[in-house]
């Protein structure tokens, strides 16, 4: 049976995040021929509506209010639930991002519904759709479904393929007016720390360093390589514990779980906790002085050598590749 599915569009620095387009693709599968409705919340977001439609949303509902300029769980839940009440959908898809992780449990609680978090794959369609998600940080997976009520899922960035953009698609854009009030949280400031401006969770390339990087300065060549490849820098717990970098970069069972197209592990031995956070990456490259390092067991390609020799060479080779292609 065809379902109506809402997708929350997530905007960062004025642009829609990739995970939103992936969420539309996921929603299409749950809708199974039904309608996918994009939802945009913010102080001025209507201009982004057409982009949701070109990626497959049938129409878009916006809520604009000065109190929605920054994300707060109070503001966004009031606005989203107003759209929910109007649309009465059978499904909801949101990105499993910082925002999605914060907002979705509150919405689920309000709706007294189940919520399947951090989905990496969907099997089947419509009412028969089942959802695959990692447990134990990717050491295992579970296949789950919602017993009854709204099919509410958050999807992990970088795992579900978005539909091809089709500029000729059109759809209706409407707005709902919501009196957003009683925000209990005031955002004073956002301090940018992410070094390359690319989110670890969404990065297509992650260059990660471990104890072998030896110092905070040692991360500089890794940053250069990440920048060159349009990726983000990550780290092992060892590197974070040794204060070479911020804990926000940590990848592993405690820390972030990433699934980029390319993961370059430099000077990382490959403890089981670290492997849990990255072993589902599509292609893994290991660079380590120790030929017996555990990381080589999960690497597609390995180089036994000193990362401080290898990384600068890699930077030169990738530069040459860019010039030639």
């Amino acid at each position: 049976m065809a379902n109506k599915v809402l997708v929350l569009g997530e905007v960062r620095d004025g642009v829609l995040r990739n995970v939103t387009f992936e969420a539309i693709a996921a929603a299409k599968q749950i809708a199974d021929g039904g309608e996918v409705v994009g939802v945009l919340l913010g102080d001025s977001v209507a201009a982004l509506a057409s982009e949701l439609i070109t990626y497959g949303a049938n129409r878009v509902v916006t809520v604009e209010h000065p109190h929605l300029k920054s994300y707060t769980s109070d503001g966004y839940s009031q606005a989203f639930l107003a759209v929910y009440e109007q649309e009465k959908p059978e499904g909801i898809v949101i990105g499993h991002t910082s925002l999605g992780k914060d907002l979705s449990p509150k919405l689920a609680s309000r709706l007294q519904s189940g919520l399947i978090s951090d989905v990496t794959e969907i099997e089947g369609a419509g009412d028969n759709a089942v959802f695959i998600r990692p447990i134990y940080s990717g050491k295992a997976f579970e296949k789950v479904k919602i017993k009854d009520g709204v099919v509410f899922v958050t999807i992990r960035p970088n795992n579900i393929k978005p539909l091809d953009k089709n500029a000729s698609l059109t759809g209706d854009v409407s707005s709902v007016s919501v009196d957003v009030q009683n925000l209990r949280t005031i955002i004073k400031e956002v301090v940018r720390k992410a070094s390359t401006g690319v989110d670890l969770s969404e990065a297509k390339v992650v260059v990660s360093g471990g104890r072998g990087v030896k110092s905070a300065e040692g991360f500089e060549p890794l940053k250069e390589l990440a920048n060159l490849l349009g990726g983000a820098v990550g780290a092992s717990r060892g590197a974070c514990d040794a204060d070479y970098c911020d804990y926000s970069l940590q990848i592993g069972q405690t820390g972030k779980v990433v699934t980029p197209d390319l993961y370059i592990a430099a000077g990382i031995s490959g403890a089981i906790q670290h492997l849990a956070g990255m072993s589902n990456s599509k292609v893994i490259v290991a660079i380590n002085k120790d030929p017996d390092a555990n990381i080589f067991k999960v690497a597609d390609y390995g180089i036994v050598g000193d990362l401080f020799e290898v990384i600068p060479m890699l930077i030169e080779e990738f530069k040459a590749l860019k010039v030639n292609s």
Partner: protein, 257 residues
């Protein structure tokens, strides 16, 4: 200040996952306090030491979870509560867990509730915010700094590597992110004291919860291991040749750059 910490007993991060008969095997596995919950316990102890009050750690589980509660008491928590669902419920999901915790907490007049931002087993991060919503109090997730003055609260939270500086007020639920603090190890005197600290055990009946009210909403169909990844190629030859080959392979074979 009346402080509560929501904790979960989880597999040690060192453990490999073994599946037999469709379930994860627990025999012989080591269990720990979920690492993110340790940050929550540590922060609770620090807030209490600075402001006075009491720290109560709460968990849902079976008899086995008593060990983790004793560890929290040994770290410095004052009281512990085990909500034992072993006899009543076969399965719990985030909805049922949050509902039970909220039923327990609703008349406790908590000023501050702390939890880990995610448990390293199920990994949903839902329970904290759900509990806050059920209690009608505000919540802030993935915090890396907490300052409390009277009922005013200043928080730094991690949002995908950036820091958001937030002002809010008590009562409040926060979930801990790595970097919030350095959890202490229980001291020997702490371990001795913990044996005498109050540890209450409750069942659903004690909380006036009907089994039907906490029936799961998400059903697990199957649990499986990811395909074993075969070890790849370790390149050989001159280092500069290896690097050239690697870039070629990534570009032409793997097609990721």
């Amino acid at each position: 200040m009346n402080i509560f910490v929501l904790v979960k007993r989880t597999f040690d991060t060192e453990e490999k996952i073994v599946i037999a008969n469709g379930t994860i095997q627990e025999d012989g596995a080591e269990f720990i306090i979920n690492p993110y919950d340790e940050y929550a316990i540590e922060e609770a102890i620090q807030v209490r030491d600075a402001q006075g009050g009491k720290v109560t750690v709460v968990t849902i589980g079976g008899e086995d979870a008593e060990k983790q509660l004793r560890t929290a008491l040994a770290m410095g928590a004052d009281e512990a509560v085990l909500i034992n669902t072993e006899d009543d419920l076969d399965e719990l999901d985030q909805y049922s867990t949050a509902t039970i915790l909220a039923e327990y907490l609703k008349d406790k007049e908590a000023d501050l509730i702390l939890a880990g931002n995610v448990a390293i087993d199920g990994g949903t991060g839902q329970v904290g915010p759900r509990v806050a919503d059920l209690l009608g109090i505000n919540y802030v997730t993935t915090i890396t700094d907490l300052e409390i003055e009277g009922t005013n609260v200043k928080i730094v939270r991690d949002i995908e590597g950036d820091s958001e500086i937030i002002e809010t007020s008590l009562p409040l639920l926060v979930t801990a992110q790595q970097g919030l603090n350095e959890p202490r190890y229980p001291s020997l005197p702490g371990i001795m004291k913990a044996k005498k600290k109050p540890l209450a055990e409750l069942e659903l009946d004690d909380l006036d919860i009907d089994e039907d009210d906490v029936e799961i909403k998400v059903e697990t169909i199957e649990i499986f291991l990811p395909p074993q990844k075969a070890a790849g190629r370790v390149l050989e030859g001159e280092l500069s040749q290896q690097v050239k080959e690697l870039v070629n392979l990534l570009h032409s074979e793997a097609k990721v750059v």
